[in-house]
């Protein structure tokens, strides 16, 4: 991170947004810092996009203050340093890729010589080199996402705000975009990533806020944030009350998995306790067929976290 890494990139204080009588965002406060990649994670309808739209000046808050790079969000000049890609980017599709980037570059105030240089650079960066003269109307959804990101970074912004970056991208595209964001972050660009995909925020973000029903439930580093339980899948030849009783001396919790009485899900506190589990089973005289850590999807962890916090 750069020297000014403790300077705020985004400051939100007591933010509230009400559409008619529907509360989209309810008393949100958070700070992200320069050079930090910050993930905003939540299910659809959680209020993520509303916050992003407020950050980009598209929506006015009902209450609260929002500052971007130290300035109020309605400060026009500060937007020269902010790039934004909406969730479902819709562009003037009659434009060619070059003309599209030239128009948006000019809106950022870039001069002709700089523009020429930047158009080539960003097209190459988002994987669209050689597509300069192709009309956007012939672009696939993934290519539109890429050109959308290109317009967001053409001004070399200090802060990039991205709303669901990888929607519409194939796995290769998703990997490329994540790699590109990592590069931007390495260059010192602050990133505010709105996503419902845990893989995105885990791969890119330093910190994550979980939002649900318009409220922030938790903020922290991804590794700390999700309460990943250590669960072992254990299969033995037979199970008795005595064996379960012995296992309970080590295990935090034991559950029967599936319909097989000999298949157990054993929650432990530390990894090395797996060996204790094996010893207990051997000492009891049972045959151990399986002892493996249980694979839990990130989505499952996310929803467990939301349920636990809610």
């Amino acid at each position: 991170m750069s020297d000014d890494s403790r300077l705020p990139a985004v400051e939100i204080q007591g933010l509230r947004k009400v559409y008619q009588q529907i509360i989209a965002v309810d008393d949100i406060s958070l700070v992200t810092y320069r050079g930090e990649a910050f993930g905003f994670l939540g299910p659809n309808g959680a209020g993520k996009s509303t916050v992003v739209k407020i950050l980009t000046g598209l929506v006015a808050p009902t209450k609260g203050t929002v500052r971007v790079l130290g300035q109020p969000v309605n400060h026009v000049q500060i937007r020269r340093q902010v790039g934004y890609l909406p969730e479902f980017p819709s562009f003037h599709r009659w434009l060619k890729a070059r003309d599209f980037l030239e128009f948006h570059g000019r809106l950022f105030g870039l001069k002709r010589t700089m523009l020429e240089k930047r158009i080539g650079e960003v097209l190459a960066r988002v994987g669209l080199a050689g597509r300069e003269n192709q009309k956007l109307s012939t672009f696939s959804k993934g290519m539109l996402q890429r050109i959308g990101l290109a317009q967001a970074i053409i001004n070399k912004p200090d802060l990039v705000i991205l709303d669901e970056l990888v929607s519409g991208l194939d796995p290769v595209g998703q990997r490329d975009m994540r790699e590109l964001l990592r590069e931007l972050k390495a260059e010192g660009t602050s990133i505010f990533l709105n996503s419902h995909l845990l893989a995105d925020v885990e791969a890119i973000c330093d910190r994550v806020a979980i939002i649900n029903q318009g409220r922030i439930l938790k903020v922290g580093a991804p590794a700390e944030l999700f309460d990943k339980k250590k669960v072992l899948e254990v299969r033995v030849d037979h199970v008795s009350e005595e064996l379960l009783s012995r296992l309970h001396t080590v295990a935090l919790d034991i559950q029967h998995g599936d319909d097989d009485p000999c298949y157990l899900l054993i929650e432990i506190e530390r990894d090395e306790q797996a060996a204790d589990i094996a010893d207990i089973i051997h000492a009891y005289g049972a045959r151990l067929y399986t002892l493996a850590p249980r694979q839990v999807s990130l989505e499952q962890i996310f929803f467990q976290t939301i349920d636990a916090l809610a």
């Binding site: 559409y19 739209k53 980009t56 000046g57 598209l58 929506v59 006015a60 026009v76 000049q77 500060i78 937007r79 020269r80 902010v82 934004y84 890609l85 909406p86 479902f88 980017p89 819709s90 562009f91 003037h92 009659w94 128009f103 948006h104 000019r106 809106l107 950022f108 105030g109 959308g148 317009q151 967001a152």
Partner: protein, 288 residues
Amino acid sequence: MGLLLITRFTIQEAFHRWLLLAMLLLNILLLAVFALMLNAAYSNQLAHAPSQSNPQLFLLEFDLIISILSVWAAYLLSGAMTIVLSINMTSGEIEGGTFSVIVSKPLHRAEIIFGKWLGFALILCVYTAMLFFTFLGLIYWRTGYFPENALAALGMLELSTLVLLALTTLGSTLFPTLVNGAIVIMLFIGAPLASFVQLISTTPGATAQNISTIVNLVIPTDALWHGASYYLIPSFLYSILQQRGVLSDLNTPFTSIQPLSPALFTWAILYCIVLPIIGVIRFQRRDL
């Protein structure tokens, strides 16, 4: 700077839309048909011109009628083009989602609306002038007649175009495209009704006059057309008809024997300024 960028972009976009091209092609077709019909009608008129009485006055009547009708056609075409081209000026961008990446750029929302307004105003004013001069040019080519106050008439038509544009600009920030279109078309078509009512009522009273005034305040396009028609009639003709006591014969739903009143002229200019400003204020407060 941002304003001019948006203006340039608006003009570029208009030329990339098939709509403008289709309208222009149809106009060329229409003008070609008009030229053929004018040629045939004028030849016929020449053949039937009375030899003993004043043939020049006879031909002037033809020149005058054809000039007024063709400029009226230019007024209608210009109005149609204004509505079709600018009806989704703001609402279309909002509905299409294309504003998200533009409004978030370092420019004021007012620059976006005024920039688009300026772009459309330039296109439409040039279009109106081209139509106007093409119609009158064809008439001049065939008959040798050209209204002495043509520029004043054109000024009225241009103002009428800008009035309509001001209305679509405001409506486009307030309503969805379809609703805006319905409102503007109804007003544009409905505006001459006040003139018709005044004509058919033998003794137009205060109520008819008040209704006409209100209609002209809500949508001054018809009043501006009447103002334009006044300048299409040669000034000497007014004198002759006044001497003969038949000047009121020129007071029809399509023509006027009086220029646009200064008050209505001022109102039309204010209309062109105030409505887009209200549109900007509305757009500045609108969530996208």
